[in-house]
Subunit: 224 residues, 2 copies
């Protein structure tokens, strides 16, 4: 089991060879493999330092939560990605309260924040990796901000539908209005209203649990 964790850490941490035996052992001992059901909360909102997270299976969603329950998704961590947003004790300047849930059934490795922080203090390569991993999200978060603040709702929905159908090479997207609203950081009511308008324009057909694209030409015009 210790050996398993060591192999995972070696794979995901490019600085592994730069660590002393003692530092490697410290990270191993202070790591734990966890399985989380879809929707389960992993880190959250209470200012605590969970630690660095390696996603081995599934995916995680990191989001901001307002006092009155509004959510803004900052980033979705896919398999093989490392999350440092949950490690404020490693990077003290990352001090906003982000909530992280499993978006699918997921298996993750959590490296205790204090153990990582101690290692980062001793070893600049470990510190560098943490900073670099965090900075990589910066642009994604600014992109979300631009999308939600600058782009009109019709465009955001059109871009989402366009991307999804391109990805799956299908004319149908299986998603509820609630889920779509969450993806593009909007409210369910507003999304439903806009989808009905899209349907009245003959761009899409709506059915329970999904959206079928009828007119890709019109959709593209909206998305561009």
């Amino acid at each position: 089991m210790q050996n398993d964790k060591s192999k995972i850490l070696e794979k995901y941490f490019p600085f592994w060879e730069k660590l002393s035996d003692e530092q490697q052992q410290r990270l191993c001992i202070n790591s734990v493999i966890g399985k989380y059901k879809k929707g389960a909360n992993i880190h959250g909102g209470d200012g605590s330092c969970t630690g660095a997270i390696i996603v081995m299976k599934g995916s995680l969603r990191a989001y901001l939560l307002s006092e009155n329950g509004r959510e803004v998704t900052l980033y979705r961590f896919q398999k093989e990605e490392v999350c440092m947003l949950s490690a404020s004790c490693v990077i003290p300047s990352i001090n906003f309260d982000v909530v992280i849930d499993a978006e699918e059934d997921s298996e993750i490795l959590i490296i205790c924040g204090n153990a990582y922080a101690e290692t980062a203090k001793e070893n600049i390569y470990a510190e560098n990796f943490a900073l670099d991993t965090a900075v990589k999200l910066f642009s994604d978060v600014v992109w979300v901000m631009q999308q939600t603040m600058f782009m009109s709702l019709d465009k955001r929905i059109a871009v989402f539908l366009w991307n999804e159908t391109s990805k799956t090479n299908s004319t149908t997207v299986y998603i509820t209005h609630e889920q779509l609203a969450r993806y593009i950081n909007s409210a369910r009511e507003a999304v439903t209203r806009m989808l009905k308008y899209f349907a009245s324009e003959g761009i899409v057909a709506l059915f329970r649990g999904g959206i079928k694209i009828l007119d890709f030409g019109k959709l593209e015009k909206l998305a561009l």
Copy 2:
């Protein structure tokens, strides 16, 4: 002159001693001191890599600009601060187009992005400083996002007025509606409407070029 720049770099770059003579000289040679009038554009929006900026006098405003001219202020760099948002060739993952203007008459030192990038590639301490400087803004940007997306306009205006009067220990804030709107990332019309409502409630009195707080009790209630 070369000597002047060397002194500035030594003061602001904590990794200076970790550099070789050659690296120090490279950064010196590739630095330039510039004076910018209030409102002048320093970096911007066109995807180019200006470099790292040290603010020696004045202050800079970094903001996002939408296609239809809407602005969202991300951060204000004050005297003695270092800006890395203008150095996408140093940190490739910072790839959003930010515009940076002088907010007051300012004097800055710009270290050419390529020279810094070359040094960062050779020297992990230089890289670490760049990453750390960038990460420090991450939380500020998320904070802006939370403010503009989660907080109602009345609260944002009240918080702004409360902070300004506390800072200056005065009952009056000298600011135009246009400037206030820019500070809190809103539209001028919406701010004017809300200020008129504040005035009708007896919270403030409006005059040309400023806002006088009449009822600090009511203002605090709004701001909390």
